[in-house]
């Protein structure tokens, strides 16, 4: 909640439907999944899941595995940043241009993996 990289991961979500294949994507609310919501669990179990985590605790990835699914890719924002050091986010309140570019980097990773585009 208080980390700039967490804000970057959330910033990727509105970018995904802007891609060429918007209907390929839907997002799952992580807290809802953690509270055992049946619909969220069904989506995760029936879909190719990409997890995007903002910190090393990797809650998103951990919870997806906990409900019995296997993410096709586990993306950690810090690792993406390590490969694009010029795209450093500013603060959690305003991730700035660097943060927005990092969000696009993450979307590209998903797209290049076959998620869309």
């Amino acid at each position: 909640m208080g980390k700039a990289l967490g804000a970057v991961t959330r910033e990727t979500i509105p970018l995904l439907p802007d891609s060429k294949s918007p209907h390929e994507y839907r997002t799952v609310c992580l807290p809802l999944l953690m509270t055992d919501d049946d619909e969220s669990k069904r989506i995760v179990l029936e879909s190719a899941v990409y997890t995007i985590d903002g910190c090393a605790k990797k809650c998103a990835s951990t919870v997806v595995k906990h409900v019995g699914a296997t993410p096709v890719m586990e993306i950690l924002a810090a690792r993406v940043l390590a490969e694009h050091r010029e795209h450093k986010p500013e603060t959690v309140l305003d991730i700035g241009d660097g943060g927005r570019l990092l969000a696009k980097d993450i979307v590209e990773i998903i797209a290049n993996d076959g998620g869309t585009d």
Binding site: G2, G6, R10, L30, P31, M34, T35, K57, V63
Partner: protein
């Protein structure tokens, strides 16, 4: 000198509707600007995943949950795994329930005004809870 605890703010971390963004923005406004020395935030995913530190704090000190929609994951999760939150805030109560809208509407000026309203209410609750603490 009387001990006054910091108040734990537990915000929605979801992306399913605009209320999630509003809840986080309001929480951060309180944490960084309105009551920076009186509050801490608790990471909801970490809390729900079972982190002992997050749950321990919420079990002892007052918390305010800020939910982005009427599913109330933060409030229900806090009550189930630690203790009943001192205050439950639901963004749907301010908006009349806009969880169906996920378009660019969420980034309008009206939402910025809503963030300020929610943040001010949060700050008021923080003050009351600290005053009531014995």
């Amino acid at each position: 000198m009387t001990f006054k605890p910091k108040i734990g703010l537990i915000s929605c971390s979801g992306e399913a509707c605009p209320g999630g963004r509003i809840s986080r923005a309001a929480t951060l406004e309180v944490l960084h600007h309105l009551r920076p020395t009186d509050t801490v935030t608790i990471c909801l995913p970490l809390f729900l995943a079972g982190d002992a530190g997050e749950r321990g704090f919420a079990g002892v000190f007052p918390t305010i949950t800020v939910d982005g929609c009427s599913k109330l994951c933060a409030a229900k999760g806090t009550a189930e795994y630690s203790a009943e939150p001192a205050v439950r805030i639901n963004i749907d109560d301010y908006t009349g329930g806009r969880c169906t809208s996920t378009d660019e509407e969420m980034r309008t000026q009206s939402d910025n005004n809503l963030v300020k309203r929610v943040a001010q209410d949060l700050a008021t609750h923080v003050d009351h809870l600290r005053q009531e603490w014995e």
